[in-house]
Symmetry: C2
Subunit: 323 residues, 2 copies
């Protein structure tokens, strides 16, 4: 039994049970992979792969288990490397954050700036996607932190920390009729065509639910995954939109006006998602704390160890930050 064998096994599982692909991905030879996996099977006295003819078509039941175990082992080895890196230089390393466009563009900019100032040695990188993609990145270990509202798919093994409470406002073109209303209602809003976040975003869904509760079906003319795109369409007069309050900046967003809508839409919660069983570099904890002061290292580790999600009430309102 051998680390290499576990690496090979997981890679084979990840590459659709194709030894050639796995070999390629690992920069090694097919025969090597084949041999090592057979050796592992021999040692366990159990077939891990279902071979039909000379194709591999499935994992056996023990094979499934073995892959799961191998993944955990490899993850722990990653952690071991991190422990080393942390002790070599706690200020140097990398941090990959997967998040949505809106979070990256508006929320994270000031935080990232402060973080970079504090930890110039940390290679910070942002990856964008919709919540499902974000989860996938975190689960695959390609991102250290995920930040988004809530994916549409289930995500076992990921811990979620309620971080930010997101209130929404309504964006309209300047001199829009709605600006003259004293108090906005769902009814009034639904009179205009809407531009929304894509359904893969919790934001898009939650807003539609608020309308549905009042048995109103607004007309959605377009949905997008990018707050800036939405704003551009609103400015062009195609419709109105509902976006996080912090996605609007009166100074920059010429041609747009925002209308308070806290009474119309309950706040959404942005969660931080992270792998359980993952060693957290110290600067990662600092980053989390910058997002929400409620989450310092002890709280985070407590939440990682616990199997039930912390209360959404732990999320804090986004503090207005200088961009």
């Amino acid at each position: 039994m051998n680390l290499q064998q576990l690496r090979y096994l997981t890679e084979v599982a990840e590459r659709g049970l194709n030894l050639s692909r796995a070999a390629e991905a690992l920069h090694t030879s097919q025969p090597g992979i084949s041999k090592q996996i057979r050796l592992l099977e021999q040692e366990l006295r159990t077939e891990l792969l279902v071979r039909e003819g000379n194709r591999i078509t499935a994992l056996t039941e023990p094979g499934e288990q073995a892959v799961a175990i191998a993944r955990r082992v490899l993850r722990e080895l990653d952690n071991l490397r991190r422990v080393g890196e942390e002790s070599v230089d706690p200020q140097r390393g990398s941090l990959v954050i997967a998040t949505t466009h809106a979070h990256a563009r508006y929320l994270l900019i000031p935080i990232v700036q402060r973080f970079q100032a504090l930890f110039p040695g940390v290679n910070l990188s942002l990856r964008q996607g919709n919540p499902d993609q974000i989860m996938q990145l975190v689960q695959a270990g390609e991102a250290d932190l995920g930040l988004c509202t809530r994916p549409t798919v289930a995500t076992p093994d990921l811990a979620r920390l309620p971080c930010l409470r997101i209130w929404r406002c309504v964006l309209v073109p300047e001199d829009h009729a709605l600006l003259k209303k004293r108090r906005l209602t769902h009814q009034a809003l639904a009179a205009y065509p809407m531009i929304t976040l894509d359904a893969s975003f919790a934001g898009g869904v939650a807003i539609m639910q608020a309308f549905a509760q009042e048995r109103i079906q607004p007309q959605v003319v377009l949905s997008a995954t990018d707050a800036d795109v939405i704003k551009a369409f609103v400015a062009s007069g195609m419709g109105i939109a509902t976006l996080p309050e912090w996605a609007f900046d009166a100074k920059r967003d010429a041609g747009l006006r925002s209308i308070p809508a806290r009474h119309l839409f309950p706040p959404a919660v942005s969660y931080l998602w992270l792998q359980r069983h993952q060693y957290l570099r110290d600067y990662a904890c600092e980053f989390i704390r910058m997002l929400s002061a409620a989450w310092a290292r002890p709280q985070v580790q407590q939440a990682l160890a616990s199997d039930q999600p912390p209360d959404d009430a732990l999320a804090v309102d986004v503090q207005p930050q200088p961009t």
Copy 2:
């Protein structure tokens, strides 16, 4: 990085940071250990061991982390082996149960018999100790299951399943004065010298608490770790004792009588203790289910995954079993 290195590291940590001992325990040479650990440190670019002169005096902070990680990895490898064994022959294997004398001698006998009949290929072995020793065995992986009330030391990383509710009775020599009382009281009991379970057993402590609540201090003449020893002393007239109801058998225990005492002592709960993150052979689950029908595999796995202990109310009364 290498499995051998992790094995060496944990063994060194376990043998009081003594390379020679570790080498001996692993049937290999000291230089090998030394070299491999240095290689690991080199790869992580971090000292894991604190060397003073040419002694190793401590683990560094990253060293502590590394040992913890290594242990987890090695445990997972054990699990992988078990997955293999399970699939080779689900009926064959070994099961080590650590428990107290009283459980082994009275409770487990019929269960073990039934289990052996069902799984003749399973090598069942019992190890006895007080609760602290039992925990240690389970935590070290030397026992698969622990069965006892509750240890006096904290045990992180062990899951506990409430299994059996234990009611106690009072044992006295035949023709003892207490036999004539209509209804037993703490006060009446305390008039006689007592023989109790050792303080390392929860049973011993719980009984004393019941007395303490009434501000009565009974006279303890002897404490032992073995129910049979206690019974022998009671029979010899040295004192009276409080033991689980099932530890008394009217037919066998000549010279002894039992007096109901459910109204005097609240029931204790026997817990099954097991390692989280340990692959459970199917027959192990069966054994657990024989102890308490409430715990079938799904329930057990749920409890293993959860970080909060299940409710004590899940424990069931011990069913009278033919010995």
